[in-house]
């Protein structure tokens, strides 16, 4: 694992070298125009990644230092129960969030596609949470889920003594509480994406399906859905990026609690880098996040973007 990043980088570098050779020979205005992108990629996304990986092998505390400590930061990381819980939580939340966001988004989009009245009102209502930040989302749901003053307290005051909605205070349920808030914020946007995808399906498909007597639900599931690959790609990129970065919502809603049962990796990174002043440890954790993202995304992204690029 330690060998992979440098060789990967080396391979990329040769790609850049070739790109740079061509830079002054063709399409000069285009290349000038692409300078901000190229610089960002090289300096920020690649440069900072290398920086991150290098310093994760050092004993850097509050300030970066080049004192090489080998895998010590990683050994400590993997033996820290907070980190292991964080990873488990993210996997759990991520899987549920991805499945529910996409399926609820698709389902709502199908419902909205039924020539309903007040479509734009429905759409506006479902989409507005997307304009609010996770901090706001976390605050308002924290308020609703507050066991004494929120929904539970209200219904109990109204006489429904046995009503229980205390997920935010229960270690085994708190991730579902996060999900409720996260889905509230994000599903509307996915619904709009999906709806746009549905509307882009050629009429002829529907006509043919009707001629063949295929029921609408089967048409959606087996004919339309596979044709919406592009929408799903965009949705997965957007939702997936949000999941890996999950931080603000946790801080605002639960702050990792109760106990450590809703901790997530990004919060571990942040806490150890800034609160604990241990950059080496924080960067080791973020390198692990990067490695897992690379393992999941790169082969797929290569097929999706790089591969198709050559076909065009």
């Amino acid at each position: 694992m330690t060998q992979a990043p440098p060789s990967d980088t080396a391979r990329r570098k040769s790609g850049f070298a070739r790109a740079i050779e061509h830079m002054f020979t063709r399409n000069i205005p285009a290349k000038i125009a692409a300078t901000p992108m190229v610089t960002t990629v090289l300096v920020v996304f690649i440069g900072c990644t290398i920086w991150t990986i290098w310093y994760s092998f050092t004993g850097s505390r509050l300030l970066p230092s080049n004192e090489f400590v080998g895998l010590a930061q990683y050994e400590r990381l993997f033996s820290t129960s907070r980190w292991n819980v964080s990873v488990r939580n993210l996997l759990f939340y991520g899987a549920f969030s991805l499945v529910f966001t996409l399926s609820i988004g698709f389902l709502l989009a199908v419902l909205m596609d039924q020539k309903i009245r007040f479509e734009s009102a429905f759409r506006t209502i479902m989409l507005y949470p997307f304009a609010l930040s996770f901090i706001v989302t976390g605050l308002v749901w924290q308020w609703i889920m507050n066991p004494t003053l929120g929904l539970q307290g209200t219904l109990r005051n109204m006489g429904w003594e046995s009503f229980t909605f205390d997920w935010i205070a229960r270690g085994d349920m708190v991730l579902y509480a996060l999900l409720i808030a996260g889905l509230w914020q994000g599903t509307g946007f996915v619904m709009v994406l999906m709806l746009a995808g549905l509307r882009s399906i050629d009429d002829e498909i529907w006509k043919a399906a009707r001629v063949d007597g295929i029921p609408a639900w089967r048409t959606y599931l087996f004919i339309v859905l596979p044709m919406m690959r592009g929408v799903f790609v965009t949705a997965v990129v957007l939702v997936g990026a949000g999941i890996v970065r999950l931080y603000d919502l946790v801080v605002a809603l639960t702050n990792g609690g109760p106990g450590i049962s809703s901790e997530v990796p990004a919060k571990y990174v942040y806490d150890y880098m800034f609160t604990a002043g241990n950059i080496g440890q924080g960067l080791a954790a973020s390198t692990m996040m990067l490695v897992s993202v690379i393992i999941i995304i790169v082969p797929w992204a290569y097929l999706e973007f790089g591969g198709r690029g050559k076909n065009q």
Binding site: L62, D166, A169, G171, S261, F274
Partner: protein, 414 residues
């Protein structure tokens, strides 16, 4: 309070020889945003503006660890430092000092003869690097307090306990009466509790061998086991449903009698005061859990970052004047009475302080013990905090496992 202010004003004015030629803006960052804290820092600002004619540009950021620290540190590293900043007395900034990013205050310290009046020179240790002084502690805070609600004990018809053991014995009766035996705020307030138990239940020697000597054997001793058992007792009466978001809320629970007790630092007092609580009437305070005769202490310090070249000399002068002023008798008195902390000067009249603070001042004569935030690196503190938070929430972690994990953190502590 006015008479103290007047008494201090004379000496402070004497200290500040030169008056500013023109007013400079000095930005001061801090995370004192709770009611009591804000009232206290306002005193510093007031004295500074009155005495020097410079402007205190207040830059408050809520949330010490997550909100303020990253900003303060990245601004200093990024070359856009503030004029002055508050941080914990301890090792959070030691690397910034070593990197030469903080201003050397040795001359000011010598000029003011601080060794004459500093209450405990150990406080200056974290500020000292290679014999030079880079920050001024402005107060002494101690976590070692057990706060008890008079209202709650009236309700169950028992006298307010006078030490930890009596307090624990009263829990069944409290629970029966529907009163929370131990009020607790989630998050970092949990982190301070083990340290208090170490001092109160474990004793002064245990504090020194764990915090100062980082002795693993001490963690595996019977004394520490008693500490872990006390923490386990607390675990049995707290639950996430009853935890409140901030320590100020616990203060309110104590005043109303909703909760019977709480272990928290002396700054809780500032909030109790703002909420109208009177010690001895509405609440009782037991330093060192009513068991020990020494307090562990840390506190807040002010740092003055080295300003970039080309900064208006007037601003640098304003830094100097603020540094002098913060430890001047007038500012010390006004600030600490509001903050609920102890001043770092021995030569000021504290007869205006309330009974809790008087108790603390009495214990200070026995010398200060190094608290966890004072002696341990922030990395070690964070790990201990993670451990304690997990332990208090998760009943499946046994006392033995807690001790093992505590020991391994102390073993790797630096």
């Amino acid at each position: 309070m006015n008479r103290y202010v007047l008494a201090g004003a004379v000496s402070a004015a004497a200290l500040l020889g030169a008056t500013a030629v023109h007013a400079a803006d000095l930005e001061v960052t801090h995370w004192w945003t709770s009611a009591g804290e804000a009232a206290a820092v306002a005193e510093f600002a007031r004295v500074f503006e009155e005495q020097t004619g410079h402007n205190w540009v207040d830059s408050a950021l809520a949330g010490s660890g997550t909100g303020a620290n990253p900003v303060i540190i990245s601004r200093i590293i990024g070359g856009n430092p503030m004029g002055a900043t508050q941080m914990n007395t301890g090792r959070d900034a030691e690397e910034l000092i070593q990197a030469g990013l903080m201003r050397d205050l040795t001359d000011i310290a010598e000029e003011m003869n601080i060794s004459e009046f500093y209450v405990d020179e150990t406080l200056l240790e974290p500020c000292t690097y290679e014999g030079r002084i880079y920050c001024f502690p402005v107060n002494i805070h101690s976590w070692d307090w057990l706060w008890l609600s008079t209202a709650a004990y009236e309700e169950i018809g028992q006298p307010v306990p006078t030490n930890w053991n009596e307090y624990v014995e009263s829990w069944p009766a409290l629970e029966e009466a529907g009163i929370l035996p131990f009020g607790l705020a989630s998050g970092w307030p949990i982190a301070g509790i083990p340290g208090v138990l170490i001092a109160g239940v474990g004793g002064s020697d245990l504090v020194l061998s764990i915090n100062r000597d980082k002795s693993v054997d001490a963690v595996r001793s019977d004394e520490f086991r008693a500490v872990a058992e006390a923490l386990d007792d607390i675990r049995s009466v707290v639950s996430p449903e009853t935890m409140v978001p901030s320590f100020g809320d616990v203060g309110n629970q104590l005043l109303t009698g909703e909760a019977a007790g709480n272990i928290h630092g002396d700054w809780l007092q500032g909030d109790l005061q703002v909420a109208g609580g009177v010690p001895g009437e509405d609440y009782e305070c037991l330093p060192a859990l009513g068991m020990g005769d020494q307090l562990t202490g840390g506190g807040d310090s002010f740092f003055f970052p080295v300003l970039p070249d080309g900064t208006d000399p007037e601003v640098v002068e304003a830094q100097t004047e603020l540094a002098r002023l913060l430890i001047s008798p007038e500012a010390q008195l006004a600030f600490n009475l509001k903050k609920g902390s102890m001043p770092i000067r021995t030569d000021i009249d504290l007869s205006g302080a309330n009974t809790c603070m008087q108790k603390a001042i009495g214990l200070l004569d026995n010398g200060l013990l190094p608290s966890g935030d004072f002696a341990l690196s922030s990395d070690t503190q964070q790990q201990l905090q993670d451990l304690s938070i997990e332990f208090l929430d998760n009943d499946s972690i046994s006392i033995d496992e807690y001790i093992d994990r505590y020991a391994s953190i102390i073993e790797s502590a630096d």
